[in-house]
Structure formats: C-alpha cells, structure tokens
C-alpha cells in the first residue's frame, strides 16, 4: 500500500477513535491538519500510529525541522523522508 493510503487510513482510524460522533472530513490535500477535528494530541497519536505501521517517523528523521500545516504537506513530508 502506498504511504498516502496508509496515512489516510490511519487518519480515519485515529479520528473515529477520538471523535466517534463526528463526520470524517474529506481527506483532500488542502485539509488544514489542526482544523480537521484532530487536535494536537490527536495529531501526535496519528504520528505514533504511523510509526508503528511504516516503521519510521519523519519528524525524528528529518534534518530540517518542519511542521506541515495541511494534509498534502504532511503526506509529502512522509514521502520525502522515507528511509531509502
């Protein structure tokens, strides 16, 4: 499965665990992460769950400190920092 699909699938999983009664936002690239219904804690959980699945965390690996604002930047950050 591609990184993008794994990220979207995990996002939905974390979102429904934290906000079971809310509608899942449409996962387009412009979705602002902290406006998506996930707060910073939910976002931190998402990154931990992704590390369990992908076996890497770009926030640790990346040489340049960076905090993506929308989903498109987030996915690209994972793709760009994937261990070769």
């Amino acid at each position: 499965m591609k990184i993008e699909e794994i990220i979207k699938q995990t996002f939905v999983q974390v979102f429904t665990e934290n906000n079971p009664d809310e509608e899942i936002p449409s996962l387009n690239k412009d979705l602002v992460l902290l406006d998506s219904g996930l707060d910073s804690l939910g976002f931190a959980v998402l990154v931990v769950k992704l590390e369990e699945k992908l076996e890497f965390d770009p926030f640790i690996l990346s040489e340049t400190p960076y905090y993506p604002q929308n989903l498109g930047e987030f996915i690209k950050f994972y793709e760009d920092n994937q261990p070769k």
């Binding site: 665990e17 079971p20 602002v32 992460l33 902290l34 406006d35 910073s40 804690l41 939910g42 976002f43 931190a44 959980v45 990154v47 931990v48 769950k49 965390d57 926030f59 640790i60 400190p65 960076y66 905090y67 993506p68 604002q69 929308n70």
Partner: protein, 450 residues
C-alpha cells in the same frame, strides 16, 4: 516593591489588559484597588474566577491588603476546591460558580466583590500578603505551595528601559496556573499590555487575536509551539521574545522557532515545582551550560546526584500547605526528580524519575490512572506508561488486559476514554490504548516500569 507600587510607575491610561471583556488600564486597576480596600482588608480570600479581567482586578486589589490570596484553578471540581478552602482557611471565595456551594464550611461564597458589604476600617496599614498557589505538581491531587510576592516575582525582570512599555505579552496559559501568573506578573512588571485571548477560541482564533492586538512576547510549552507552527497564518505574529517552559525544549523546536521568528530572542525556562525555583537559558541551545554547576544563575545552587538534578534555594517555602512533608533535605538541597545527562560543557534533561509522565507540561502519575482503569468492569489489568512522541514529547499510553468475557473489544477503547473522562482530567487519559494478553510484573509483584 508591591504590585500597586509597580503599577504606579506607568501612565494611568496605558493599557494593562486586553481581553474579550474589553480593556483595563493601569489606572483602572489602581482605582479598583483603592475603592475596595475597605471591603478586602485583612481577609483570607480565594480567587477562582474564570474571567481573567475580574481575576486580575481582584489580585491587584488584594495584594498587601488581604492576609492571604489563594488562587484556585477555576476548572477544579467542587470537592477539590472545598479541600483547598479548608486547608488554607479562606474566609471569602470569589468564583462564577459561587452559587453551587452550599456546604457547611466557614467560608462565604461570592460571584464578585460587589456583594461584599463595605466594612469601615479606620486604621489600614499595608503588609506582606501570603500567596497560595495550586500545583498539579508531584502527585495526583492538587497541592498548595506557599509564596510571597518576592518569591513569585523573583524571575520576572523589572523594567529597566522605557522601551518595554510598548511590548505586549500574549497569555496562552490560564492566569490561575503558576505559568500563567508568571506571564501576568512579568507583563505588569514591564508596564506591557497583556493580551488574553478567550479560551473559547481555537488556536487559529487565538493567534488572530494576538496578531490583531500587536503581541510581541509569547510564552508557551514546546508542544504548544509546535501547534502554533502548524497553524496557518502564524507567521503574522511579529514576535520579539519567545519563551518555552513546562517541558523539555529540544534542539529541534528551538531551531524551528528560531528559523520561523527571525526577530525573536528565544528563551527556555526550567522550573521545578518541588523546589520552587527556576532559571532561564538564552543561548538557543537545548539543556543548560555545565558552567551553571559552578556559577549558577540568580543565586540558586545546582548539583547532579545519581543523574538527578538537585537544587538549593534559601528563599523557597518550607512546606506544601496541608501536608507537613518537608521539601528540603537537612542540608537544604532538593531532589527535583528530573533526570539529566552531563556532558563536557552541557547538561541535558532526559525526563522524570519514578515513572511520573510529563505530557504537554502536565504531570501524570501512572498508578493513579491505572487504579481508575481497574475500576472499569472489563479491565482485568492495566499498565500506564509514557510513549515518546516527536510531536508532544511524551504521550500517555496504556496496555490493558481485558476480562475473559469481553468479546467486542473494538468499541471498548472509546468507552474506556469516556469512562476516564468522567473521573479525571483530560490530560491523564491515555491517548493510546493497546489491548494485550498479559502485563509484565516484577518479582515484588509491582508492575514493571521502564
């Protein structure tokens, strides 16, 4: 110098507080104090107002007039508040929730100062007020630490240059917590404008409010700074000073904030609730210089024993109120419970000893959360521990062994979180739950802790 004396240094029409209720000038604060001296003189008051404007007015009015000021976080529950009121023997409580107290304790409850009858006192002399602050510090239950105005303002630097008057501090912490009160006192000390965004706003709304009102100085936890950097439009903040505290500030977040706010000086602050001391580091590097062991800042002393930072401060309060446990050892050194690594020229923070979890600046005792989890009928065994997060530093995680009869486990994670949310603060609820087959115990029968 008392709070009122500090305020008198600045132009009376200069804005001291900008919040959703409006503006308050330095003169307004002093006028409020002068017109209420008779009502407050000699009282032991407790302030638990959610509204920062009303809280600040009362704090300024009460300093040197009241016998004691106890600041109680407005979001504590009623039983926790009553316990605190009894411990400090408050005579007058101020909080929006005053109507909810009908308990037979010797304290009167008010929504605001207007309801107090004016006592005519002829002989008024100012004296040093005792300040009691609540800390979530070192155990599950809120604890009270005794201060006076000089210990509270020890690290707030006074205004040496008149240019400070044009600065504006943003308040992202609650004013009734230690970190928030430090920002409030720093802002007043400098004659700055304090900008307090409403707690009902989301982070984007808060940042917009800070931008609109010209915020130049901002203090938050490293975790909070990461959230700020993830919020579109954050770059409109024209910051001159960035302060980080409450958690370990690693090199990455120091660099990122520095890259994004090129005009800002970046300071990270270490504070020990146990010791009642703190110091700041301004060289932009994580940890602090090893030279602090030899020549420590601000007259405190530092040493490292068995990998734990110990501090010594002659001025600190002797005890937690209502709890006779001495904070100091006999020779005056206090073990901070913060683990450190000493390298040639730098000392780095590693985390807390004894399993206490620091998540987003809040301290969590795993045992307390484990006990709560065990009170759920489906939980047979629970282990609560910290899980490293690149975003929040540390998350609260839990391994849970379920009772045999539970078959439908998928919806149970959410149910457990809801169950805990009815019993404890949100920050103590494990954000990651794993259902496991067994939990490792040590030889002594205790849960194995890393």
């Amino acid at each position: 110098m008392s709070l009122a004396e500090i305020l008198k240094q600045f132009p009376p029409d200069h804005i001291a507080l900008q919040c959703v209720q409006g503006k308050l000038s330095f003169g307004d604060l002093l006028d409020f104090k002068n017109s209420n001296i008779n009502k407050l003189y000699g009282l032991d008051i407790a302030i638990s107002l959610n509204c920062v404007q009303e809280g600040l007015k009362l704090i300024v009015a009460a300093d040197t007039i009241c016998n004691s000021i106890t600041i109680i976080p407005s979001n504590l529950n009623k039983n926790q508040k009553i316990k605190i009121l009894q411990t400090v023997s408050s005579s007058h409580y101020f909080g929006e929730d005053a109507d909810e107290f009908n308990d037979k304790i010797p304290c009167q409850f008010f929504k605001n100062i207007n309801a107090i009858e004016n006592e005519i006192t002829n002989d008024i002399s100012e004296f040093e007020t005792q300040w009691n602050l609540v800390t979530s510090g070192t155990s599950g239950d809120p604890k009270l630490v005794q201060h006076n105005f000089s210990t509270l303002t020890r690290t707030t630097k006074s205004n040496n240059s008149s240019s400070k008057v044009s600065t504006a501090w943003g308040l992202l912490y609650e004013y009734f917590r230690f970190a928030g009160l430090q920002v409030v006192l720093q802002s007043l000390h400098w004659g700055s404008k304090l900008i307090a965004p409403s707690n009902t706003l989301n982070l984007k709304g808060k940042i917009d409010y800070l931008v609109e009102n010209g915020c130049t100085h901002l203090s938050a936890t490293p975790t909070f700074w990461k959230s700020i950097l993830m919020t579109p439009g954050f770059e409109r903040l024209d910051l001159h000073q960035i302060t980080m505290g409450g958690e370990i500030a690693d090199q990455k977040i120091l660099n990122t904030t520095s890259n994004n706010f090129t005009n800002a000086k970046i300071t990270h602050v270490y504070a020990s609730t146990e010791a009642g001391v703190g110091f700041s580091v301004q060289d932009g590097k994580a940890g602090f210089p090893s030279a602090f062991l030899e020549s420590p800042p601000l007259g405190i002393k530092l040493r490292v024993v068995d990998g734990i930072l110990e501090v010594k401060n002659e001025k600190m309060p002797l005890t937690y109120l209502g709890d006779k446990k001495l904070l100091r050892t006999n020779d005056g050194w206090i073990r901070t419970a913060d683990r450190v690594k000493v390298s040639a020229d730098r000392i780095y923070f590693l985390g807390r000893e004894s399993g206490v979890i620091n998540s987003g600046g809040n301290k969590i005792h795993p045992e307390e959360v484990e006990q709560l989890l065990l009170s759920h009928p489906n939980v047979a065994c629970a282990r609560v521990y910290s899980k490293k997060s690149s975003i929040m530093g540390t998350l609260v995680a839990s391994d849970i062994v379920l009772n045999h009869e539970v078959i439908e486990a998928s919806s149970l994670k959410k149910e457990l979180k809801t169950f805990l949310s009815e019993k404890t603060e949100a920050y103590k609820i494990p954000s990651i739950i794993y259902f496991v087959d067994s939990i490792k115990f040590s030889d002594s029968g205790k849960i194995y802790r890393l």
